[in-house]
């Protein structure tokens, strides 16, 4: 097909503008800024001080490591919790119920994390719904402290991210032919064998793309750790937030932002390499 040049330029100009002005230049700017340091007399010099601050202060790199490990943990937890649901909706329950139940899964996604996190705050408070209920039926005598702990933070992070994992896993499972499972079952394979040797390998692309989305949402989240987390549940985004909006040390904030970007890109890259997938599969 013959392509005309004018159409090509009409299409590429806005796209280039978008990518250069809002993706490339801002991130180069951030990288540049992270190596700048304001001396006592107010002039700007090139320096590694912003990164040194990160390594010298224990709280920063401890938070960094904790955020990374926690995010991986929540991603695995999200897989364990949602895989049976994805399997149930695609392979077990009848078509009529499954489309309605799938719709229910999408509603919390569109409601947005602020409202759902707030909902969990009400549920988990000392005088919240769960504690009041437990007190009433007499299981406990005094309220259990659930809000402002790592437990409440994990619940919040899991809730806001896990549904993004179900959708890609469901589309992978939907394309899987039931007769594969039937054949294995006829040949006497146990449920566990079928699950490990047929279902999981077949669903891997969906698991990886869902896992990456969940991981990115969790590691970059601010609302759930900040509203539901306690004193010990520090999140690296909170450090960035403080640098920018509380102490106005933008250079250190830029360095921290770059470290977060580096960390998340590395983990996503490793996940893609280990599973042999490409980035554009994650998007679809």
């Amino acid at each position: 097909m013959k392509k005309s040049n004018s159409t090509f330029y009409l299409l590429i100009t806005p796209v280039l503008l978008w990518l250069l002005a809002l993706i490339v230049i801002p991130h180069l700017d951030m990288l540049f800024r992270s190596f700048r340091f304001e001396t006592d007399d107010g002039s700007w010099v090139f320096s590694l001080n912003n990164y040194l601050a990160f390594f010298e202060d224990k709280i920063y790199w401890l938070t960094f490591v904790q955020t990374a490990l926690y995010s991986i943990g929540v991603t695995i937890l999200a897989f364990v919790v949602t895989f049976p649901v994805a399997f149930f909706l695609t392979k077990v329950v009848g078509k009529r119920y499954s489309s309605f139940m799938t719709l229910l899964l999408l509603i919390p996604i569109w409601i947005g994390e602020l409202v759902t996190v707030y909902g969990w705050m009400i549920l988990l408070r000392d005088n919240g719904v769960i504690n009041s209920f437990l007190l009433k039926i007499g299981v406990i005598n005094s309220p259990i402290e659930m809000l402002f702990t790592n437990f409440s933070m994990t619940i919040g992070l899991l809730y806001i991210s896990m549904l993004f994992m179900i959708v890609p896993m469901m589309s992978a499972l939907e394309s899987m032919d039931d007769s594969l499972i039937e054949a294995a079952s006829d040949l006497g394979a146990s449920k566990w064998t079928i699950f490990r040797q047929i279902v999981i390998p077949y669903t891997t692309p969906g698991i990886v793309s869902g896992g990456i989305i969940v991981f990115m949402l969790v590691i970059g989240d601010y609302v759930a750790p900040n509203i539901l987390g306690g004193k010990s549940s520090l999140w690296f985004t909170e450090q960035i937030y403080n640098k920018f909006l509380a102490s106005f040390n933008w250079s250190e904030g830029a360095a921290f932002g770059f470290l977060l970007l580096l960390l998340s890109s590395c983990i996503v890259w490793v996940a893609l390499k280990l599973s042999g997938q490409k980035l554009d599969k994650v998007g679809s």
Partner: protein
Amino acid sequence: MIRSLPCSRLYITGFRLYITLFYIFLIMPLVTICILAFNDSHYIALPWQGFSLDWFFADTNERLGLFKDTNLLLSIWTSFKTGFFVALFSTVVGTMAALLFEEENFRFKGLLYFLALAPLVIPGVVLGISILLSSTNAGLYLEDTFGVDVEFLRPSFWLVVIGQFSFGATYVMLLVSARLKKFDRTLEEAALSLRATRLQVIYLITLPFLRPAIIGAFIVAFLISFSNFNTTIFLVGSDPTLPVDLYSRIKFSSTPVLNAVSFMIVAFITLAASISFFLHRKSE
């Protein structure tokens, strides 16, 4: 195991029990908020004090309902405006990007495509601070060299729109590309051989085919914008969007009006989802 295979009672019952618990976990925070929005109390949580519409309509010193709280109404309005402009710009540029990457061939296409997907793996916080840094730099530069003050380069309504557009366009691109992959290219070739220009082909053939995907992408971009917090918080000026307003109220001054706003959001999303569900079922 699956629909077509017989299974033990215990397995089926256990599976159903798990799914039930999962759905209870899913809707519990939403149902709680919706009920407590009608609680006749000064506190956001229990105990239940009787039914009241005060947190929607009251206008007294002690209680300021949702529909009388001008600040809250203003932030809802700001969110609608932001969502509209973000959806508009994202849809236009995202559709152009989809056409560009699906139909044209050019140098550095792979690199540009990678950049267009990058917002999927950049944490929202990082996107926010990098755009804040570079827009501030650009604003300072313009002021120093030309003496002009460009308002949208400072944290403001339009900077929020720009920031949310930077990742909204990616989602639109992915949704439109998915539909474009199913497009029968011979239709375009037929039109071209009948002497249509390339632009006429896009306008008369390709875009009508893409229409459902474009409308869907517009709605998705609107909803993403409406619930975004992580990027917005760094770019927001004196007119907060609803999530920013909700966040500061949850942190510093929570009254049951929060339940009322949340109820409205939950009700609106559920209604919209149900309508699309029934329309979809009718068309099948």
